[in-house]
Subunit: 373 residues, 2 copies
């Protein structure tokens, strides 16, 4: 990606000229999207399931979608604000677009659904170049193509800072899977590994501060690349969600956006349960473990409250668990780990630290990211 030294002023293309250029940027990125080996090609999913179709997209007062007979429609929306959720960087325009769509796809996957139609509202600073906006769209287009998502509408406005709001519509493949279906005795599982995104963020925030004694010098280039990618360009777990739905037996599910601790509290509140989380069982990637050791950072804090992992956390009765784990491994090539179990609500939401003694069972703090703290 080239640093954009000079660009086309927004005023020179006009609002409708801009919209046309952006639709093109999305389309050409979507057409040229490299096949990603993680999870296999998923663009076919929508066409396989979907008699629904977008009759009219961009260019009218509203988009029109037909043929939703018998399908549950899923709708999610997320707002990302410059300076709060991301720092604007010319080198990372495309990654910004990718992540803005990814976090919404992750929400749809966490309902047991496939993503279908995206609506992007974007606030663009007056001083931005057309190429800046095009790159954001191109990033979204790349991810969209991979998961069969169509840009169906949106709004382009001026603002002081960059603001992206994505509303994503999807379809539940079977029944939608909410947060409230868990029961005492169900095991709690998580896909992939947790804490990598927080580790990547730590690397990002430490950039340019690689002084002696910070331990940064000891981090390998491969670890650095992997962890930055996990933070800046996460993979939504669509293939994993489809494997879980295909197998059946998942009672509650959500994605890990705020952090495992916070999500366990959500699952417990909606399912009217308590929980015990086995801290030693949390799946930690070796690269994340190495970074925490090299830099003296709190590995468990990354894993429990770091957030932005976009893994799936879900519950299922014990007898379903071996089959679910096998199905996800087979269909998506991803490991799934049992990290605890749901209990009666009166037992509270507890973290169990090794060795398991009475004094090592403590309340699991729910601290995720509070936007207003």
């Amino acid at each position: 990606m080239n640093r954009q030294k000079e660009g086309t002023p927004l005023a020179s293309v006009g609002e409708f000229g801009l919209i046309e250029r952006l639709a093109r940027a999305w389309q050409s990125a979507a057409a040229g999207s490299p096949d990603d080996s993680r999870g296999g090609g998923l663009g076919c999913l929508t066409s396989a399931i979907a008699s629904p179709r977008l009759r009219w997209g961009i260019g009218d007062d509203a988009a029109v979608i037909d043929g939703l007979a018998g399908k549950s429609l899923l709708v999610t929306t997320d707002m990302l604000v410059e300076g709060v959720h991301f720092l604007w960087s010319p080198e990372r325009r495309r990654l910004l677009g990718r992540k803005a769509l990814t976090v919404n796809i992750s929400d749809i996957a966490a309902m047991g659904g496939i993503p279908a139609w995206a609506f992007l509202s974007i606030g663009v600073p007056a001083g931005a170049a057309v190429e800046d906006v095009e790159e954001v769209y191109a990033g979204m287009g790349e991810v969209a193509a991979r998961y069969g998502v169509v840009l169906a509408g949106g709004d382009t406005v001026r603002s002081d800072k960059w603001v992206l709001n994505v509303t994503l519509l999807g379809l539940a493949v079977k029944g939608p899977i909410g947060r409230g279906g868990g029961a005492p005795g169900d095991l709690i599982l998580v896909t992939g590994s947790v804490g990598d995104s927080a580790a990547g963020l730590h690397l990002l925030l430490s950039a340019g501060r690689e002084k002696a004694g910070t331990g940064m010098a000891a981090v390998s280039e491969a670890d650095r690349k992997l962890l930055l990618s996990r933070h800046l360009d996460p993979t939504p777990r669509v293939a994993e969600a489809m494997a879980l739905v295909e197998h059946g037996g998942v009672t509650a599910m959500m994605d890990v956006s705020d952090g495992v601790s916070s999500e366990v509290h959500h699952l417990c509140r909606n399912s009217v349960c308590g929980a015990r989380i086995d801290v030693a069982a949390l799946p930690i990637h070796p690269a994340t473990r190495r970074l925490a050791e090299a830099t003296g950072q709190d590995l468990l804090a990354w894993a429990l409250t770091g957030g932005e992992d976009y893994e799936l956390i879900f519950t299922a009765p014990p007898e379903q668990v071996p089959g679910l784990i096998a199905q996800v491994r087979q269909d998506a090539g991803t490991d799934v780990t049992v990290i605890g179990r749901l209990t009666e609500q009166a037992e509270g939401i507890m973290a169990v630290y090794p060795p398991e003694t009475d004094r090592n069972v403590v309340p699991l703090a729910a601290k995720g990211y509070n936007h207003f703290r």
Copy 2:
């Protein structure tokens, strides 16, 4: 509405506490919403048409909507940014919420649909009080109750300036009405009156500048109130759209958000037509005419390019027009006016000024509001 001198800091209630308070603010405003005489009670519309229902709303990864068999789903989204689309004012928090939903309801009505489910993403400055956000929600809740709209999800984030993004889902009552169905010979009609919103904006921008010679002193309190209301608290033309759909025969429709001139250009582009607009026929409210005369402002500029009228502009074959006008008058109590007709594309998009001579037929400038100029 009281000016909020001191309020509850956002940080003191936490993110989830805030979401709960906002849902309550919406609900209690919706429950206490006064019946508005314009157009009659419309909340019944959704339940009358709709087997579709919101299975799960706020509180999961995505909202779930079932039962869309045979219905066309309509989706529209709009982003409003402080300092660009509105100035933050403690006195007008509730009006801001009302208008943010209204402009989206207007888009759904302009497709011949009824609004159903709203998703609100809101960016809130860190220094704002909980009561500020509650008032915005309460305003939306008032409008939502009147039109049968349910708050189905959203996102609450921190930002430097206030940002509101509403995504609204609706259902087409019969076939959706787009912008592309007009044909040469169709008449062009508009509901209500145009230019009032621009007149109201002029009053707003002139506030505190009522010097001698500006003509402001001559404006009656009744005119002032009416025009400000037309700008700050427009009425979406849902009852009018339903009357048009009920009657049938409308070939193309949209709402007047950017201005009549701009919308005529859209209709012509999508319908592959030209147009002749009879400038003398534009429906101008007497209050708007009086304000333009008292202040020396350009009445036609207000009517043609002022925008934000949220009237419906539509086309229909001449033989359908008397029936359509009668139906809207009967069902919604609103006047509809013929303002021109579609022509062959080669004839261009023309404005006809009185008296109709060759030199009084000139190209209709498309200048709406360009966000990046």
